[in-house]
């Protein structure tokens, strides 16, 4: 029994990683995926009921590291899946191009810390979470416009 739960969770994590590769394209992917999740009844694969991929990006407001209320549900779902598994997770903090590079490195770290603290409050082992900031050095979307910037102010949950 224990073993099968473990495999199920391992699979879920693998799916999260897969999602990480593909779902960072648009700002509203998070909402779309959450909608999909509630709409699709999990009947075809009862053994993998937790394996629906979660989006792995949370977005932030300009110059802010406070978690937006619309990201909390997603983070709670991540916490539910990570809790007690011992899975190592990298939280990669990013900033948009506005403002100075070194300050943005600090801002990216603050954002990743905010995600870490939230997950820890939800019972995830702090020792499994590594925070790293890339500041504005690795934008998800190039370009000097607000749409690109909104998608670059983010924390990516990896693994």
């Amino acid at each position: 029994m224990f073993k099968s739960v473990k495999t199920g969770l391992g699979l879920a994590c693998a799916m999260v990683v897969l999602a990480g590769c593909s779902s960072t394209d648009t700002d509203d992917t998070a909402q779309q995926q959450m909608v999909e999740q509630t709409q699709e009844p999990v009947v075809e694969a009862p053994a993998q009921e937790t394996a629906v991929p979660l989006d792995n990006v949370v977005y932030f407001d300009f110059d802010k590291s406070l978690l937006r209320s619309d990201t909390r549900d997603l983070l709670i779902q991540h916490a539910d899946r990570l809790r007690g598994t011992g899975t190592s997770v990298r939280l990669e903090g990013h900033a948009d191009e506005l403002g100075t590079r070194e300050y943005n490195l600090a801002l990216g770290e603050r954002r990743a810390n905010a995600v870490r603290d939230f997950l820890v409050l939800q019972g995830v082992d702090a020792g499994t979470l590594e925070v790293i900031s890339y500041g504005e050095e690795r934008p998800a979307v190039p370009g000097s416009n607000e749409s690109a910037r909104a998608q670059n102010r983010r924390v990516v949950i990896v693994k």
Binding site: Y103, A106, I132, S133
Partner: protein, 432 residues
């Protein structure tokens, strides 16, 4: 006689072609000039060696003086004669053109290089101001030109020239669909750019050692940001930090024995000073806010840095002996990444006003702030060692380019853009 002249002419015309092709690579675009620049003529120099010189030395000097914004060099085609020495300068000819100074020069071959003898003549005073010599190796003709330009500039303005300096900057380009990050090095006029090192992960915050022999920077090559120092001549390098969290903003102390930096191993970004002789780290700030972007005052006794301890990023000064912190900037809700002028009197920084990021200066004593640029995404100001100009990064469309502006805002120019996205210029110190 006829034959000789022909050869000379063909030499001149070939020279022109060479110069044109060289300039096509790097056209400096002056976007704002001094309203009353001093007219000066750098007459084409003679060359007593064989073959053709790879660079037009007098042209490089003219370009240097023009870029300073303080001079209006006379175009070669407007000159009525090409004097090679002060006794060939016909004052009446130059007075007609309104030229105030004439530079003449002669280049001779030397063992493994060149010797330039050049003179500065004051047209209205009808007197020679100096005759000087500069020499350089076979591949140093541009350095010879920049050194001569420095001498002319200083003799007329009283300010030490900074044409014979370099810059290091970051270039991001793509190769096979993957980003390539490079530390680049170039002459301060943008010429002779070459790669110092290539990375597949981001590299940022290059900072020169005060002797101009080394560079410190932040590289993500280990999977997290780490500070490195690298010898520019030998390529030997050393990783200085590998702490959990941020390792960033390395800046060498004026005497070269210490390095200020930012580490977040304590939970949030704090300013540290690393003693490069003992390897000991000393924590300088204790605050839950972001403390970052340290820079040394020229006397080495205090640091200026960015902190959002007041709610928004502002510039603060930290006295090292006492640990006392004083806020320096009060205008605007975003002032960051400051650098101090060599005389310690002026701060330059990234300043946001009305949602736009520009470069501003502030008189440290009076607190008087002044905007130097009016584009929207200007950052990373780096001051010349003579304090006259600064280089910064800005955007043209979606691409990063480098630009320069004088600290009195009178002169502004864009450096020739090149392949990829360029940013974070660091102006070198003097090399002597």
């Amino acid at each position: 006689m006829m034959n000789k002249l022909k050869i000379l002419l063909s030499v001149i015309s070939v020279n022109c072609v060479l110069v044109l092709s060289a300039q096509a690579q790097m056209v400096v675009e002056i976007t704002r000039g001094n309203p009353d620049p001093t007219p000066i003529a750098v007459a084409p120099f003679s060359w007593s060696g064989g073959g053709i010189l790879s660079e037009d030395v007098s042209d490089i000097i003219s370009a240097d003086l023009r870029r300073s914004g303080l001079f209006a060099p006379v175009p070669k085609e407007d000159m009525l004669s090409f004097p090679k020495s002060p006794d060939e300068v016909i004052f009446r000819d130059w007075r007609i053109l309104g030229t105030e100074y004439v530079v003449t020069g002669r280049i001779e071959p030397q063992a493994n290089g060149y010797l330039l003898t050049f003179d500065l003549t004051n047209v209205f005073g009808q007197s020679k101001m100096f005759t000087k010599q500069v020499s350089g190796g076979r591949d140093q003709l541009r350095d010879v030109a920049h050194r001569a330009a420095d001498e002319v500039f200083e003799a007329i303005t009283g300010i030490r020239g900074a044409f014979d300096t370099e810059m290091i900057y970051v270039r991001e380009s793509a190769s096979g669909g993957r980003p390539v990050y490079e530390l680049m090095r170039a002459d301060i006029d943008g010429a002779r750019s070459r790669s110092i090192r290539r990375f597949s992960q981001p590299v940022m915050s290059p900072n020169w050692s005060p002797d101009g022999q080394e560079v410190a920077y932040v590289s993500f090559e280990t999977g997290r940001p780490a500070i490195f120092r690298e010898n520019l001549r030998t390529g030997a390098r050393q990783q200085l930090t590998n702490f959990k969290g941020i390792n960033s903003s390395p800046t060498w102390s004026p005497d070269g024995t210490k390095m200020a930096m930012v580490l977040s191993k304590d939970g949030n970004p704090e300013i540290y000073v690393l003693d490069l002789n003992t390897g000991r780290f000393t924590r300088m700030t204790r605050h839950f806010a972001i403390d970052t972007e340290p820079n040394w005052m020229p006397d080495g006794k205090s640091l200026v840095f960015t902190s959002d301890r007041g709610g928004k990023p502002q510039i603060y000064q930290l006295t090292l002996a006492t640990g006392q912190v004083d806020r320096l900037t009060f205008d605007g809700d975003y002032n960051a990444r400051s650098r101090v002028s060599p005389d310690g009197k002026t701060l330059v920084m990234v300043h946001r006003s009305r949602g736009v990021f520009t470069i501003a200066t502030m008189d440290i004593r009076t607190g008087q702030m002044r905007l130097l640029t009016e584009t929207t995404l200007d950052e990373s100001p780096s001051i010349a060692p003579n304090g006259a100009m600064l280089m910064y990064a800005t955007k043209r469309g979606d691409r990063g380019i480098l630009a320069a502006v004088s600290l009195d805002a009178g002169v502004k120019y864009n450096l020739p853009s090149q392949r990829g996205d360029v940013r974070e210029p660091a102006w070198s110190p003097y090399f002597d």
